[in-house]
């Protein structure tokens, strides 16, 4: 029995082991190797040491633009999105008629957010003739109603930040589930008066939710770093005026799959990997300190 157990464990694990090895581990190693080469897919990769990385930091101003755009996007949209979802989770938790209907409506944008259809819609909402400007015109704000909110480099990234905040439904549902697990007495103790409730929320309830917040922060940051479809569709694939929509993933795509600079694209991917790993680590550190404090 014992012996068979051991065997069975591995047998059931076969698909994942194969996938992990063939589609994750080996590609990761290769990706690093390619990042040290000049590789256009038509001929064999030729080793060039670290010059792809050197180029990235010395020559390629798109790289810096892409990092800037992506960081602005991630570190503005994720906090906004989470704050919004946390507030609404608290609002929904306390007896609202048609709760499940509201929950469903709030969740729908999360389902559709990354689709081409929504990106197309967004172009028409924030474009020069879009419905946002129609609204401004109807409100008499003619001075700003001729701005293209997706083409103007000052605003373009904001239309995508709004798109992300729009998708606050899925972290909200996770928060809702988290709030449900907090003992009722704790929540009710907060109901004495406004001032103490504020304290209850910040001192007791939020710290209790730290693991869930951490989970949401990391998941949303990782997924924000991966954004591609919206940026591709809305900028028409070229990253927009002044690289204002050149998200990091779009830069990887353009270098690798449109210019066929696979080696360089691999180097870009590795830097992305390092950035994400670093940020994940930092979030863990920041939150674990916070938890200890209480």
């Amino acid at each position: 029995m014992k012996k068979m157990d051991k065997m069975a464990g591995y047998v059931f694990l076969i698909p994942w082991l194969l996938g992990f090895l063939l589609l994750t581990l080996i590609p990761l190693a290769y990706s690093f190797y390619y990042s040290l080469t000049n590789f256009n897919l038509l001929s064999d990769p030729s080793f060039i040491g670290f010059s792809n990385y050197v180029k990235m930091f010395t020559r390629d101003f798109h790289f810096l633009n892409a990092v800037r755009v992506t960081f602005v996007y991630v570190f503005v949209s994720v906090p906004l999105q989470l704050l919004f979802s946390l507030i609404l989770a608290f609002a929904l938790n306390k007896g609202i008629p048609f709760l499940s209907a509201f929950r469903a409506i709030y969740y729908i944008p999360s389902l559709l957010g990354g689709s081409v259809a929504i990106a197309i819609l967004w172009r028409q909402v924030f474009g020069m003739d879009g419905i946002l400007n129609m609204l401004f015109r109807a409100l008499g704000l003619t001075s700003i109603s001729n701005i293209s909110w997706i083409a103007d480099p000052r605003f373009a990234v904001w239309s995508l930040i709004i798109l992300r905040v729009w998708q606050f439904g899925s972290p909200m549902i996770i928060f809702l589930a988290g709030i449900k697990q907090i003992p009722n007495e704790l929540l009710e103790a907060g109901a004495i008066d406004g001032a103490t409730r504020m304290k209850q929320t910040t001192r007791i309830i939020l710290p209790m939710m730290t693991p869930i917040i951490l989970f949401n922060v990391i998941m949303q940051i990782v997924s924000a770093f991966k954004v591609f479809t919206e940026a591709y569709i809305i900028s028409g694939g070229n990253g927009g005026v002044l690289d204002s929509l050149l998200f990091y993933t779009l830069h990887i795509y353009n270098e690798g799959f449109s210019k066929m600079r696979m080696g360089y694209a691999s180097a870009l991917s590795w830097i992305l990997l390092l950035i994400i790993a670093l940020i994940t680590l930092l979030s863990f550190k920041a939150f674990s300190k916070h938890v200890q404090y209480h």
Binding site: T24, I96, S100, P109, L111, Y232, I252
Partner: protein, 280 residues
């Protein structure tokens, strides 16, 4: 439950309703616009069309003339269904291994599996592409579908593991005493009981694959192998004249399957999100 005063409750409900309206407005506007005649789309913000037409759908469906949305939707369905089969088969097996079996290295494998959730697809896409290219798989659906049979969607493994852990071990132990081995325990006991998790996996896999753009634009190259998302992208790239109506019509059609699935399995999906943190 805490009870707020009546006014506070009314204000809160009103606020929540307004937010819901703002959120849903662009979507509804798109759907409504898809039924408006072309020249009326950007004329008014109202959600009640003054004139209804199905022409946009007819124009949009024909797309480039030779390859129509019939092909694109067929491909989308094919890829999504195969992805579902792959994920269900592989993830449920692997989850059983993680949830119920003891062996050396399990903890290490489990944490590696969790780590792959963080791994951006971009980190491995170049070698994967080079590899599939060598296999002659580029421009086929294989690079999109085969990985699903190799349990690469760690989220679903995690979801099903969580679910298995909630099933009392007494059941499997009783079965083992009765002479069942692990393989029968897996598909006679755990698999049927895990149906809700499997359905959640099915629906999310379907929706994610349906919505996916990055892997599809990389691997699918000719219009005959395009999916609905690529068809839409091509549609907007190639217009001689802007056909907003047709564009909205096809955009609307492309999200219909997702909305239908969501409405049908709403409760299950939201529970799935709540317990495992899956992003929609």
């Amino acid at each position: 439950m805490i009870r707020d005063s009546k006014t506070v409750r009314i204000i809160r409900t009103a606020l929540v309703s307004v937010i819901a309206l703002v959120l849903i407005y662009p979507l509804v506007w798109m759907v409504v616009s898809s039924f408006k005649p072309e020249d009326l789309i950007f004329k008014d913000l109202s959600l009640i069309p003054r004139q209804l037409t199905l022409e946009n759908y007819a124009i949009g469906w024909l797309s480039s003339g030779r390859v129509t949305f019939t092909t694109y939707f067929y491909n989308s369905i094919l890829i999504s269904v195969l992805a579902v089969i792959g994920n269900i088969l592989s993830c449920s097996l692997v989850a059983y291994s993680f949830a119920r079996l003891e062996y050396r290295g399990r903890k290490l494998f489990f944490s590696l599996m969790l780590m792959t959730m963080m791994l951006p697809v971009h980190a491995t896409i170049v070698p994967q592409f080079a590899y599939f290219h060598k296999m002659g798989w580029v421009d086929t659906i294989l690079p999109i579908v085969i990985p699903k049979f190799l349990a690469t969607d760690a989220f679903f493994i995690f979801l099903i593991v969580q679910f298995y852990r909630g099933i009392p071990r007494d059941l499997d132990e009783a079965a083992i005493v009765d002479g069942c081995n692990h393989y029968s325990v897996f598909y006679r006991i755990l698999l049927p009981l895990a149906a809700p998790a499997l359905i959640t996996t099915t629906i999310f896999t379907f929706m994610w694959t349906w919505n996916d753009f990055f892997t599809q634009i990389i691997y699918l190259r000719t219009p005959t192998s395009y999916t609905a998302t690529l068809g839409l992208r091509m549609f907007i790239d190639r217009q001689a004249l802007s056909q907003y109506g047709a564009m909205f019509a096809m955009s609307t059609l492309s999200i219909v399957p997702i909305l239908v699935l969501f409405v049908t399995f709403q409760r299950l999906l939201i529970e799935g999100v709540a317990t495992s943190g899956i992003k929609g």
